[in-house]
Symmetry: C2
Subunit: 220 residues, 2 copies
């Protein structure tokens, strides 16, 4: 088990703490499309990603979704254990965007370690700060950036994540990431197509002009 | 000096830690309108508010402002010390909305205490979680709520903070809280006036129908 190698501050814990963590962590397989969190699942436990991809998102009363941040290999998901912290009072849902392998660390174990170890508590703080930074970035995007720039930034990011210029993603799915309606996405993608930036086909978007896309995303 | 009474987890620290905190904290008077943060001031130190009111806000490239959260008596301001945490990578500015008295705790002292004390580290975590909750609430507002509801919620909150139905606030100032242009605020306030919810005069807004304002804010 390579848990020790994946858990960031493992070396800085004492032996008893290391053992408690390692023994309690269970490696789980999470199928692509699985949604966790919101409601009773809130207190699933902490997830430490071995491989795969998760997205954290919020949902409006009308069922519209907005991706708040994404997690990749070696990232730790705090909000699958949000009940652990009294002051976290919002609902966030987690969805596996790819088949994911992650260690589930029980809340009771992690909470105890946080209480006794400044190392774990400060590490948790750093994770929280990183997610806070993600959310503040998103806030600036939704407040001050026009939708064409947000869509261009999203496609550009997707292309980096997938390592490809061919994106197998629906307009509906993009709408769920960006917190808007499918029609809005479709309209803007058609405009991008007209500009020669992308080529659209069913369930697929080909990026033809990456430079133009990046320039648009950067708002230059 | 009543610092001990204001610092939330003071009783749970050992004597040496208590002494270090108490000796290093300096009570400062911050005049209404003073802006701190962004750039070199980022690492001012932590502020523990004795009395007064601060707002934390972000600024767009074009100079438009958005209030992210507000702090009152006994609240602690972490982001006046954001350099303390490596993972905090966004700019936030702090403005005194009222004459404020606050203890300034030097970063070096607080950082040392965080490193050695799980109590302080976890307390910091709780503060961060509370601010995270504020920001997620705001995210939902700006994403899914129409501007009339946001403005109604803001006026209703102001009325509670001030303990009065007469608000001495300009349209420009409201725009800076809500991240929009003055004209947008003026237009919506005139609509509210037409509905008999408020009465507008120079630099002043009187709330005439609090119930209607709340109902609008709640979106019912």
């Amino acid at each position: 088990m390579d848990f020790a190698e994946y858990f960031p501050v493992f070396d800085r814990l004492d032996e008893a703490q290391q053992e408690r963590l390692e023994k309690s962590a269970i490696l789980k397989k999470i199928k692509k499309g699985t949604v966790m969190g919101s409601g009773s699942d809130d207190c699933l436990g902490l997830l430490l990603i071995r491989s795969g991809q998760l997205r954290a998102f919020i949902v409006s009363d009308e069922g519209r979704e907005l991706t708040v941040y994404r997690l990749f290999d070696r990232d730790m998901c705090l909000f699958s254990a949000s009940c652990m912290m009294n002051s976290v009072q919002f609902d966030i849902s987690i969805e596996a965007e790819k088949d994911t392998e992650a260690w589930l660390i029980p809340i009771s174990v992690y909470r105890d370690l946080m209480d006794e170890s400044a190392v774990i508590a400060n590490h948790t703080n750093e994770i929280m700060s990183a997610r806070f930074t993600d959310v503040m970035w998103l806030m600036e995007q939704v407040m001050w950036k026009s939708f064409d720039r947000r869509l261009a930034a999203f496609l550009s990011e997707e292309s980096v994540i997938e390592g490809s210029h061919m994106l197998g993603i629906t307009h509906d799915r993009i709408a769920s990431h960006l917190g808007t309606a499918r029609e809005v996405v479709t309209r803007m993608l058609r405009y991008f197509q007209g500009e020669g930036i992308v080529k659209l086909s069913r369930g697929r978007i080909d990026i033809l002009d990456e430079e133009k896309l990046r320039t648009l995303a950067d708002g230059e």
